[in-house]
Amino acid sequence: MCRPAFYTIAYEINPWMHLARQANHPRALQQWNQLYQTLTKTLRVRVSLMPPQPRVPDLVFTANAGLVVGRAFICSNFRHPQRRREEPILERQFRGMGYRVVRLPRRFNFEGEGDALWVGQTLVFGFRFRSDAQAHVQLSRLLKARVLPVELTDRRFYHLDTCFCPLDGQTVLWFPKAFDRYGRKVIEGLAINCVAVSERDAVRFACNAIVIGRAIVLQAGVSSALRRALARRGFRVYPVDLGEFLKAGGSAKCLVLRLPEDSTLKKSHAR
């Protein structure tokens, strides 16, 4: 994660961002802290922190930093120049943490875990608004896994993690309208249980959830119907208000990047 010391709305690169609707900085810090506490204290997750930097306000959305696989960090190739500034920072950070930095060919846009989510042994790869379909071929080779490219069709849900969330190997949380009939068929074929969210919940970024075992951390304010559906399947919901980050088109999931367990890495300390 990355503390939002320099978080602000500095540009408009997705339909949620409006320069006229600025983030309230103290509230953003407070909300982020609440997420951090929920993860570290309540759910006892080990969180590494990377230092925030000025002039890269979206660095806080670490889900887009890249994709971590074993000891390798596949760094993102950001579509927008405003976020491309984050790339050298991310490379330095992950190299310092002991990862091998891998880059995909520059001509393919790839925005990390924001567009690439595992369902069992298959990586679902969302493309169109940020990541390019062709990047999936390289990813597949690097990961030695099946990577299924799925087209995103609703501009509001511009990253896969805004409309799709694997809950466990068989269950996914998703907003079907963000996909076309091909995408829906693929996802329905992949997951045994599909929990569809309503449009109202989708625009509250209900699908942008962090899943830790049976615990789900997501944006506060989702419908009780959704909470009941998740509870029925044995999930515990931990709502956190991340309203200041919704202003940039992100919520819980966008603010974290998974670092899979690897004992060969040198230890990093939570600060």
Binding site: Q121, A133, V137, S140, A145, V147, V150, D180, Y182, V186
Partner: protein, 404 residues
Amino acid sequence: MVSELIQVRGHIIDSLILPKILDEIMDLNGTFEIIELAVGKRKTDPSTARLRLAAPSQRQLDVILARLARLGASPVHHVDARLMRATKSGVFPRAFYSTTNLPTEVRHRGVWRRVQQIEMDCGIVVSRTAGQARCTPMTNIRKGNWVVCGHAGIRVTPLERARVPQVFQFMGSAVSSEKPKTQLIHRLAQEMRVMRRTSRKILVVAGPAVIHTGSGPYLERLIKAGYVQALFAGNGLATHDIESALYGTSLGVYLDRGTPAQDGHDHHMRAINTIRSVGGIRQAVRRGLLTKGVMHACVKHRVPFVLAGSVRDDGPLPDTITDTLKAQEAMRKQLRGIGMALMIASTLHAIATGNMLSATVKTICVDINAAVVTKLADRGTFQGIGIVSDSESFLRELVRALHV
């Protein structure tokens, strides 16, 4: 039909990307033929598909390719245009690509570049350093020029058919003396007003009949009102226009009376002689010797003119370019920025100009002889209309429609 070989790789079957691609091709009015499909054996293996994609036009093909590119499919042959050096000045390499008058692009170092100053029946020279592609007539080829050869890496864009019915579409390029002329001329006037408002240039190509029939004054009015940005003509038009300014006659016939003048047949020789004695048309205007007429209006209103000579010329006037290649060059120079060409009562100059025009220029050909109009239409000028009419009634009506 145009086609392109494309390929797509990856997990295209499980992800339904391949069926989606095939559906999209059909939805966009294309067709496909699967040339090769290699399915990965293990779940983690990628598959590859190669298709021959075909579409009714280059434009449609480009639309489909753009859509498919988003899905990860790309053309197989990323071919650049083939370039060969000219071994002799004024001679193309044997396999040179001969241009059409349609907007054309060539692919060089992976980038599509628009061919500058496109004109039919020329070659394309690519500057390898600047990466520019220029349409070049045969006579302008220098030894060592890199010339586009063959057909690979060349993209020609057919002209879009406008959805809004315009005067040009309305008439098509059918030629007939039996079309409602007044309506046509009024719509043409409208087009000309739009051209002038949007600072686009109008070229007039005129033959000596314009003067003989007494419609010189109408052309003069058009020039004065700013509707003419360039004039192409021959020695004949200029001579008889000057004759009419100096003597009131054209070919010795009084324009206001229609009766021949005494010794009128040598008026035009005297007119030419006068201009030759002062060095040229501009000099004659400056000296106050030439005080009216079409050529005078051109000089006064700074409208560039090109007088291209021919074997039948008397004199000629000092301004007439007798070297045909030089005349062509001078014409080409004036064609930059031309949006409309009005060709009136001239066979030779109309066809010469028509050969040089890009297909995007709106051309109007007015001639009393239907054959001339047909000939120009057959040249493949897409946005052209023909009007069979004598120049006097046409220009009179046009001037009235334009209120000048």
